[in-house]
């Protein structure tokens, strides 16, 4: 029987249980708020700027072995043909069309090989001729609009200010080989150890991504795109010592990249990748082997994206740029061709081909319509997506800031910083064989991370709104620092 003396003990027990419940409820609320704040911190964290968190290869963290495949994830469907660097590279042909426009020339007035190219692609001739006019129209924009990009342009110039001396016009049989100081090649102990060494020193040189492959000659230009020891009108005979290709890649600064087309630049990553490639070539030559850097902007004798795919760095996306698991497509690559024997990396397939099939965000966001929503085409014997480079380059000349666009890079769902949200999404798509998550995540991406109307990216004088994909970072807002 309960007595009066038991009452305080009962009350105490009730009070204790109430306290436990109150403490539990408070803990649950605090714990959940803590997770919210932890998430907030993860979203802001500079450590999520993948590729900028430190050297030593820490950023190349994706478990590629799990997704390694024997054959690269592109399809060879017939006889292949090497690209003509003189005409199929926009930077090589665009000057010819520009001067044709100035001199009132028609396609039939042009010299070979441009005449044949433009006869087959008359639309490109019309587009390529327009660039000077587009630039002029952009320059007519109000000073108010133009001046907003003073800091972005200064920053882009500064990022391009340091560059190794380009390789001269000596043929590769001379320029790729070590100079007088070096001896005959050192005998390396094993190709696996050499690959490990090359990767380690490349990280030390500043690369974020690196992969090694045997060079597929289909990727070497049939005719050169720039003079680098080759005669412009003679087919390139692939030098025997171009046995291997080492691909390196570094990211563009994340915040300006998201504020493309007018606040970002490729110069920062161009410069870093160029420096890594030249350092690497120098290192290899001191070991007595041949090495040639192929570097951005247009100092290549070959096409880089398929070499990146062969080297296991990623897969080529709908926008034609390679998508890597770590950096998405926010990087700029360089290649070193060499005869230093190394073990090679396997290509990887981590779900990009399936994802691109229904995503199409880059095509929807592209202001120039250069990215197709249609299926892959057969290009030089390979089934792949093809970018319409003349349309793309037109848009480079239709906006403010440093030359370029890069909106497709910013909009691609794979180009996301390294925090738990995006890393989890990557793992889900990479490991889901059903394709359900591809559809779900692409749908969420469109709804949750929308961009401006594509036409808004154009300069105001071309009917646009000078829009950028995201707001510029604080340190590129000219109006906050300079009296205009």
């Amino acid at each position: 029987m309960k007595t009066e003396e038991d009452r305080p003990r009962r009350e105490l027990r009730v009070a204790r249980r109430t306290l436990i419940k109150a403490a539990g409820a408070t803990s649950a609320a605090l714990g959940l708020s803590g997770l919210g704040l932890c998430g907030y911190q993860a979203g802001r964290d500079p450590d999520s700027y993948t590729g900028c968190e430190g050297l030593q290869g820490a950023a190349q963290s994706f478990n590629r072995k799990k997704f390694a495949v024997d054959e690269p994830p592109y399809e060879k469907v017939g006889p292949t043909r090497r690209a003509d660097g003189r005409t199929e590279v926009i930077f090589s042909r665009v000057g010819v069309a520009r001067s044709a426009a100035q001199m009132g020339k028609r396609i039939e007035d042009l010299d070979e090989p441009f005449r044949s190219y433009y006869e087959q692609h008359p639309e490109d001739f019309e587009l390529d001729k327009q660039n000077s006019e587009l630039r002029r129209k952009v320059a007519e924009d109000s000073p108010e609009n133009r001046n907003r990009y003073i800091l972005a342009e200064a920053w882009a110039d500064a990022m391009g200010a340091v560059s190794p001396r380009p390789i001269g016009n000596e043929p590769p049989e001379i320029s790729d080989f070590p100079g007088r100081r070096s001896r005959s090649p050192f005998k390396m102990k094993s190709s696996a150890a050499t690959a490990k060494l090359i990767k380690k020193v490349s990280y030390e040189f500043g690369t974020v991504l690196i992969g090694i492959t045997k060079l597929n000659h289909d990727w070497v230009y049939k005719y050169p795109s720039s003079r680098r020891g080759f005669a412009m009108n003679e087919p390139i005979e692939v030098p025997k010592h171009w046995e291997y290709a080492i691909v390196v890649g570094t990211p563009m600064s994340w915040d300006p990249m998201y504020a493309n087309p007018n606040y970002g630049t490729s110069n920062d990553a161009y410069s870093k990748s160029r420096i890594v490639a030249f350092r690497l070539a120098s290192f290899i030559k001191r070991l007595g082997y041949a090495a040639r850097p192929h570097t951005p902007g247009n100092s290549y004798d070959l096409m880089v994206p398929p070499i990146m795919v062969d080297a296991g760095l990623g897969e080529q996306g709908r926008h034609s740029i390679v998508i890597t698991p770590e950096l998405g497509c926010n990087f700029r690559p360089a290649v070193v061709t060499t005869n230093l024997p190394m073990s090679t990396d396997k290509p990887i397939a981590f779900g990009v081909q399936d994802f691109c099939k229904n995503c199409k965000i880059c095509a929807e966001q592209c202001p120039s319509g250069a990215i197709s929503k249609a299926d892959k085409k057969i290009v030089r014997g390979y089934k792949r997506y093809q970018l319409h480079s003349s349309k793309c380059f037109n848009f480079w000349n239709s906006n403010h800031g440093s030359l370029g666009c890069r909106v497709c890079i910013a909009a691609c769902p794979y180009t996301r910083k390294s925090n738990w949200v995006h890393r989890t999404a990557l793992q889900v798509t990479a490991n889901d064989p059903t394709g359900i998550s591809d559809k779900l995540l692409a749908g969420m991406q469109k709804r949750f991370y929308p961009g401006p109307e594509p036409s808004d990216f154009y300069a105001a004088t071309l009917g646009g709104k000078n829009a950028s994909y995201r707001e510029p970072p604080w340190w590129l807002r000219t109006e906050d620092f300079i009296e205009l």
Binding site: R17, I20, K21, A22, A23, G24, A25, S27, A28, L30, G31, L32, S33, G34, L35, G36, L37, C38, G39, Y40, Q41, A42, G43, R44, D45, K417, N419, W420, V421, R447, F448, Y449, P450, R470, E471
Partner: protein, 94 residues
């Protein structure tokens, strides 16, 4: 390393989780709600969903992705409410 990436933060989160579980047990005992083993996963899954949603909304705000935070909140609120009603009914089952 900031506080939110430290082991100390996760230690405190663990402490909060323990307290919340003890409180839930006490509360169900007081209400006379039996808690067989299968009810615990129901509660844990629902709380985990809520936790991940809150962390997602926080991350989106941190990234400056306000649309993602907004739609994330709506999405999470709808799912959490519907699943919460279902979980609550299951929890009250005797």
């Amino acid at each position: 390393m900031g506080f939110f990436e430290s082991s100390f933060f996760w230690f405190i989160e663990g402490l909060f989780a323990c307290l919340a579980i003890i409180a839930l047990r006490t509360w169900t005992q007081d209400k006379g709600i039996p808690m067989p083993f299968w009810k615990w996963p129901v509660v844990i899954v629902w709380v985990l969903f809520l936790a991940v949603s809150i962390a997602y909304i926080g991350t989106s705000i941190g990234e400056g992705e306000m649309d993602a935070a907004f739609f994330g909140t709506i999405f999470a609120a709808v799912i959490a409410s519907i699943s919460g009603v279902v979980a609550w009914r299951l929890l009250r089952m005797r």
